[in-house]
């Protein structure tokens, strides 16, 4: 009894430890029972700079596993329970690879991960060589699935789709407001993510006759102020600024825009990590008003998505980011495939995943369906706008909750 109360005390201090202990307890209890246990391996950055997002994704997987188990496990396999086998990638590809290999050695039926494209690229190769299905919850880089891998699938839209749709949406809403875009300035962080989205945007913009310039890059890891960059935007005379960055630098950009006050009709994030987050209006204050972002997003009209957000909040005392829903759906995809295959044989599970037909928690053009390359072809980047202190979906109309305000006069 004494040790137990000690454990409880410790757990109360470090919140979340209770849940972990609970999960572990439940898991080992399950494995000692009669029902078979099926392991799902996760690979997320649980330490390092991206631990915040990694934890969100990991929590999404945990909720997914719990939901499947609570509903009776995998019925086609005699009610077999799912169990989490977690791996910490630390955000580096080589740790990701050794963790992936450890999980494969542990006998996981599928892998879920990884948040960073470089890590996912490596894990995808491991999955392919070991013939274990790999479902990517968040990882945008197009190149990962350009090698013809058979065992890798991606839930979120790839980077190029963000860039392309951002260009289309900007053109559409500005035309609808009778205030067409004349010139687009682009500000992006300098790694594969920002660069990839920029290139796709530029290609689409040129196709539809939008004038581009200037292109400004920055290092997201070290940047502490973006006023010089925004001053450059102001001097260029562009009337729309498109930004692709992570959360922290997104807030910096918003603050710089408020200081410099360039004459912009709109600031549009292309897969920006900040402008569509529930925390953004709090962190950027009035500077956040009117900001657009093209990103994947919760289906605000879906009861399941609302229930997920509420459950996440009560369980983890934090607002769920959309990534958590993608991780949750990744587990559902795997569970459905196990159900369909009626087997844990990797190649059968892989074939069943390839035929997935499942309604996601995120906005989409229909149920999750994977293309031959493994891309979720129905995933839908949508346009959100911060209105009255909260980001809401404003375009396309099929998904919109409110209508876009354009010009948005950001920073004025």
């Amino acid at each position: 009894m004494r040790t137990r109360s000690f454990v409880k005390l410790v757990a109360a201090v470090g919140s979340g430890a209770v849940l972990l202990a609970g999960c572990a307890g439940g898991g080992s209890g399950g494995s000692s029972g009669d029902a078979k246990v099926i392991k799902i391996g996760t690979l997320h950055p649980l330490s390092g700079a991206n631990a915040g997002d990694g934890t969100q994704l990991e929590n999404g997987v945990k909720l997914g596993i719990k939901a499947i188990n609570d509903a009776g496990g995998i019925k086609a396999l005699g009610g077999a329970k799912l169990e989490l086998d977690g791996g910490d990638t630390k955000g580096t590809p080589d740790t990701g690879q050794s963790e992936a290999q450890r999980l494969v050695g542990d006998g996981v039926v599928a892998l879920v991960g990884t948040y960073q494209s470089a890590v996912s690229a490596n894990v995808a190769a491991v999955a392919e060589r070991n013939k274990v299905p790999f479902v990517m919850d968040v990882s945008g880089d197009d190149a990962i699935l350009s090698h013809g891998y058979k065992y890798s699938f991606r839930m979120q839209p790839q980077n190029s789709r963000f860039g392309t749709t951002a260009a289309q949406y900007v053109k559409a809403i500005s035309a609808a407001a009778n205030r067409p875009v004349t010139k687009v300035a682009y500000l992006h962080e300098a790694t594969a993510f920002g660069t990839g989205v920029y290139q796709a945007f530029k290609a689409e913009a040129q196709k539809s006759g939008l004038q581009m310039g200037p292109e400004i890059t920055y290092d997201a890891a070290s940047v502490s102020d973006l006023t010089t960059q925004i001053a450059q935007v102001k001097a260029s005379g562009a009337n729309v600024l498109v930004v692709s960055g992570y959360y922290r630098d997104g807030v910096l950009a918003a603050k710089a825009i408020q200081t410099v006050k360039p004459a912009l009709d709109a600031v549009v994030g292309a897969a920006d990590g900040a402008f569509d987050q529930p925390q953004f209006p709090t962190d950027a204050g009035s500077a956040s008003q009117g900001y657009f972002d093209v990103n994947y997003h919760f289906d605000d009209k879906s009861a399941d998505a609302k229930a997920f957000s509420a459950l996440y909040k009560t369980t983890y005392k934090d607002e769920a980011r959309t990534g958590a829903a993608l991780a949750y759906d990744s587990v559902r995809v795997i569970a459905a495939a196990l159900e369909k295959a009626g087997s844990t044989d990797a190649s059968k599970v892989r074939d069943a995943i390839a035929q997935t037909n499942l309604t996601p928690l995120t906005l989409s053009d229909g149920p999750i369906k994977f293309s031959d390359k493994g891309e979720n072809s129905t995933s839908l980047p949508v346009l959100t706008q911060v209105q009255n202190g909260a980001p809401v979906v404003v375009y396309p109309q099929s998904a919109a909750v409110k209508s876009p305000v354009y010009p948005a006069n950001p920073g004025q």
């Binding site: 470090g14 202990a21 330490s47 080589d94 494969v104 190769a125 392919e128 300098a190």
Partner: protein
Amino acid sequence: MTITTETRPGSAAIQNRRQSIQRSLIILVVITVLAAFAPALLPESSQTIAVRVLIFAIMAIGWNLMSGYGGMFSFGHAAFFGIGAYTDVYLLEHFGWSPWISLVVGAMLAALVAICIGYLAFRYKLRSAYFALATFAFAEMLRLLATNTSWVNGTTGFHVPLLPDNSWSMLQFAANAPQYYYIGLALVVICLLITMFYLRSRTGIHTVAVRDNEDAADALGVNVMRVKLTTMALSAAITSVAGMFYAQYFMFVDPDIAFGQAQSVQAIAPAVIGGVATLWGPLVGALILGPLSDLTAGWLRNPPTFLEFLSGRGGLDVVLYSILLIVIALVLPKGIVGSIRDWWKRR
């Protein structure tokens, strides 16, 4: 002739070198034979760790040659590691060249770059901290160059394309194939042999002499610049081999992995912990540091009850890393091997 208590290999130690190289060769044979059994004894899932140990060891052997024996402290060995890795993947992707050829090309390129860096640094008489900073700056420069150069795929980096079958000529095998381990082990042994015989050669002896007293060596007619550049070039070539092997094993490189600071640290840390300017130090250090992050990750995954509060917290390996470095610096300033050697001699 009888003053043999010198810890640094001074003139008397040179006399002992013939004897000591025989002893070193015997130790090397014993270690190699023992290491050859490792894949049979280790669980399959720890193969990656074993290969990582070997990569750490090659890098540290390279670093130790230049910074330990040569006394030119480098904080930018990522530059040479990255050149090896990028040469391999670039030639593979664009020309389909075998990694074995890229290994030679990469080593030559790395040596060339090392000579350029060294020439500029010594020409302008950069020493100690300034030299270290200069090497660091060169590695960073290469990182930024790779990041912003589209013909090496910029930030995206390269993937090694997967082959359907095992191939010795393309250095690619099934995941977890023991071949990777044996190739890595062979590379480590070759690098150790090169170090041994280089230190025994005329230039090698001059290298140590220049480190111990540059002015005296110069006065005695040693061509200081040539000796330093040769040592740097050889060190860079060895480190580039680690880069090539890394790329072939992990099948992916990008500018951060290849040229990032973490890579420079991974060349230094095993050598410092194992023992700077000792033949076996880098190997011992790599054996300790290679598995460290996986061991701590394992502890954190299923912590014993008294460590329960640690579960779910990452980064313990970094903490242990730092503690190890501090303890070694305080208690064993010559590293593990260096301290044991001193203790053995004093005994």
